[in-house]
Symmetry: C3
Subunit: 347 residues, 3 copies
């Protein structure tokens, strides 16, 4: 992969900035001021970066209108972070994955693969499954029996899609993701636990992305569902029969217990937990580490263990910070009251 070279003029136009310097300068990548090399575009966020900008080896910088000029080619932008993200798009390179079925892959004779599907080495596609055009399975993926995988999906190394699961189009499954693992449901008879058969599967919408190591369990019957355009980070667990709506963002290590339902545009910070059978409304935001034990109405912002409406959670937190002091205060009040009462008795 040789790096792309993109002119400062093209970058400036793409990020809607104002260029001050030579438009022909060729940029090969982005880097922080102190790490940048020749050819890199760097950036200043605030005054604090001015001295580092004096010494950077970067060929040009992004900076906000509010900062004084530096002695380097500059692109002035409204929002530096946003401009960085936009600029990165210019440098992204299309994946150069091979097309076709690797000779060291096993594809069942009755599996139906579009002509340009890639299946990496040591991957297995079992009987009755289909994979849409442009989809890529990297090395060591497993697709079980009767699965449907849409177009332009990307399954990274070690992904397992178990029997009967359905994946939409444009889906990215990170390394070692498991779709359709066994649900955790047991019946106890004579003191022994026997698994309830989980005969359902998982249905994943279009444009879903699921990060490395995450697992989505299959439904008892019907489907565990992940809605279109929902993005899930790494090491997340989605239990059996959960329904996650469209356009949700779920950060790393969240756990969503059986049959919970999330609406659309739900946003979870890291390590959030949701109790089984709970309903989380559309547009709910839950801060990192929140534990949702009860239904949450649409549009709420919640925090804490158990989850409280944000304002209440912060008020409680503030009060808790003052609790040791409150204990002392009450003790003093008691003493003063004792004295007053004793004075009253003697009066």
């Amino acid at each position: 992969m040789t790096a792309k070279k993109i002119s400062l003029a093209e970058i400036s136009t793409h990020i809607a900035g104002r260029l001050e310097g030579s438009p022909e300068i060729r940029i090969t990548g982005l880097a922080e001021l102190h790490l940048a090399q020749q050819g890199d575009l760097s950036f200043l966020i605030s005054d604090a970066d001015l001295s580092a900008a004096e010494q950077t080896k970067a060929s040009a910088v992004l900076l906000p209108a509010s900062l004084p000029p530096v002695s380097l080619p500059m692109i002035r932008v409204k929002d530096v972070s946003e401009a960085i993200n936009t600029a990165l798009e210019l440098f992204a390179q299309p994946r150069q994955d091979p097309v076709g079925i690797h000779p060291q892959a096993l594809v069942a004779s009755d599996a139906v693969l579009a002509h340009d599907v890639s299946v990496g080495p040591y991957s297995v596609v079992e009987s009755g499954s289909s994979i849409g055009a442009g989809s890529i399975l990297q090395a060591r993926c497993s697709v079980g029996r009767g699965c449907v995988i849409g177009e332009h999906c990307h399954l990274r190394q070690g992904v397992v899609v178990a029997d009967g699961c359905r994946i939409g189009c444009g889906v990215m499954l990170g390394e070692n993701v498991v779709i359709g693992s066994e649900g955790f449901g047991y019946r106890t008879r004579d003191g022994c636990h026997r698994q309830v058969p989980h005969l359902g599967a998982v249905r994943i919408g279009d444009d879903v992305e699921i990060g490395a190591g995450s697992c989505v369990a299959r439904a008892k019957f019907g489907f565990t569902v992940i809605g279109d355009d929902t993005k899930i980070d790494s090491l997340v667990y989605i239990a059996h029969n959960v329904r996650v709506g469209e356009h949700c963002l779920i950060a790393a290590q969240a756990g969503i217990a059986g049959s919970a339902r999330l609406g659309q545009r739900v946003v979870f910070g890291g390590q959030v937990g949701v109790r089984d059978h709970v309903a989380v409304g559309d547009g709910v935001t839950a801060g990192a580490r929140t534990a949702i034990h009860h239904d949450v109405p649409a549009g709420s912002i919640v925090l804490g263990v158990p989850a409280l409406e944000r304002r209440q959670a912060l008020r409680e937190q503030a009060a808790l910070r003052r609790l040791p002091e409150l204990v002392s205060k009450v003790k003093k009040l008691q003493q003063r009251l004792d004295e007053l009462e004793s004075a009253a008795d003697h009066s």
Copy 2:
């Protein structure tokens, strides 16, 4: 996999229900009222489901005795959820996995496999290991040196059983489960951390099930032990030298630190944590997200961070909800007291 067809009569008998409708109707699966198709058995839980039952395409429904009849073949049952779980057993199909060693698998010449063991493609069984009758290793499993795997085990894709580990009979290991990973124990000398050798292994009892992505670390010496019939959910971490008793249920993303001991019939909600060397007694139940820092006596129900006896935890939680109000109250008391004292001074 063509679906099973089972008569309503057979289902009704199996779940000990009372059939009202044609016993010959053939059922092919279970589904919720609004998703059911012809051939499906659906169910009503409460009055709220009556209108959906009017419009369902299901061929029959389960419902409790308390509900009025619907215009569909019905099976009356005591407990609908329980009846669903029981009915699902009828529809479970035996796995149709191939028997034998896949040509693309590697089995050491001195490994001892029962004649009907299945080893999937790209799996590796190393020297000196044995695998009992009826056991299935799906694709891409690794069994290290000197392992013992009992009869009728099922190792899903990507499972690793590391050197010297012993797995009982009837054990299910979910996708990408790791048994016998390195323990996390270090000694610091001259500021550098050096791993303490972990020379032990892991011993897993009969009928244990461990969900996708979970890891059980090997012992420093002797064994990390998981007792018979214990069921562990996904993305759980069991550290070195932990002993988990029989018949426990441990939900997803729990973490049990080194040398902790769990008795029999311990039940953990999701994301529970247990500190190293702590002892959790028989029959303890810990709610989701509980952090167990100290020994917990047998039979306790605990909650919170750190874990408290349930009643105390709930009392504290209730008090915490009222804490901001308490702060104001104390402030007012102070003012009233100030006034009283000042009045007393002037009297």
Copy 3:
């Protein structure tokens, strides 16, 4: 693997103990008193172990100077736990992994491997990568394009090192570890989330160890960095652009969000969380389950959700334990005050 036999004299010297018993006794391993067999070295920690020592089958025991002698060969030591760890080093056996590229592995023709590198079956090393002397890739590892892996590294089964990542020397990556997974960063346009390209990679220092199932995401640009001699436990998530310093210890299931920075010698208990962009100073210790929301100054010991300085966290916890009682106290104070006021009114 036949067990090593080591004389009691050698062990005693190695752990700097005082031997009381025959120096020639041959020891083959370590075990707890009640599990020990002939040939095992066992140990007593306190008085409570004296009765078990009467009945053990162990051939010798370690014990502290403070305990009375037992009727077995003994080695007196200052710190029993420490002595066990030191003794274990004597019994550790060098790995007997094969050297060379397994015929069922795929190594790109332009990959550069030192002559004694081992690549296990079903592993893939892609174009432009290099692997240093003495490094071992077990079965089913994937090394992407343009990676650099140093000398004497050990990648266990299922490890993925994605394109462009750099691994130092002496690094251990546990089973199913993923280095260089996609970062979780999105821009939302017209209600749809589009991934910000993550063009950077991961750089891992020398002597780093990362436990089974953990994931380290690649940077947006530049590198996500793990410093030399840092040890990370299982199922940990390190997000994009995080920098972890040298000599840190991070226990299982911790999650460190994007662009957070950890100094040197940071120690985290299990299930700790760090918010994005937060700076954790050198030598900080955070107890299990701590959630770090704000910068933590060097040398602090923190606890709780959100993280507080340890002393304050414990004071709050103690106060919280007394909160229900405090509520009652305030109620009583109110009543007494009511009475006093009413008495004052009537006087």
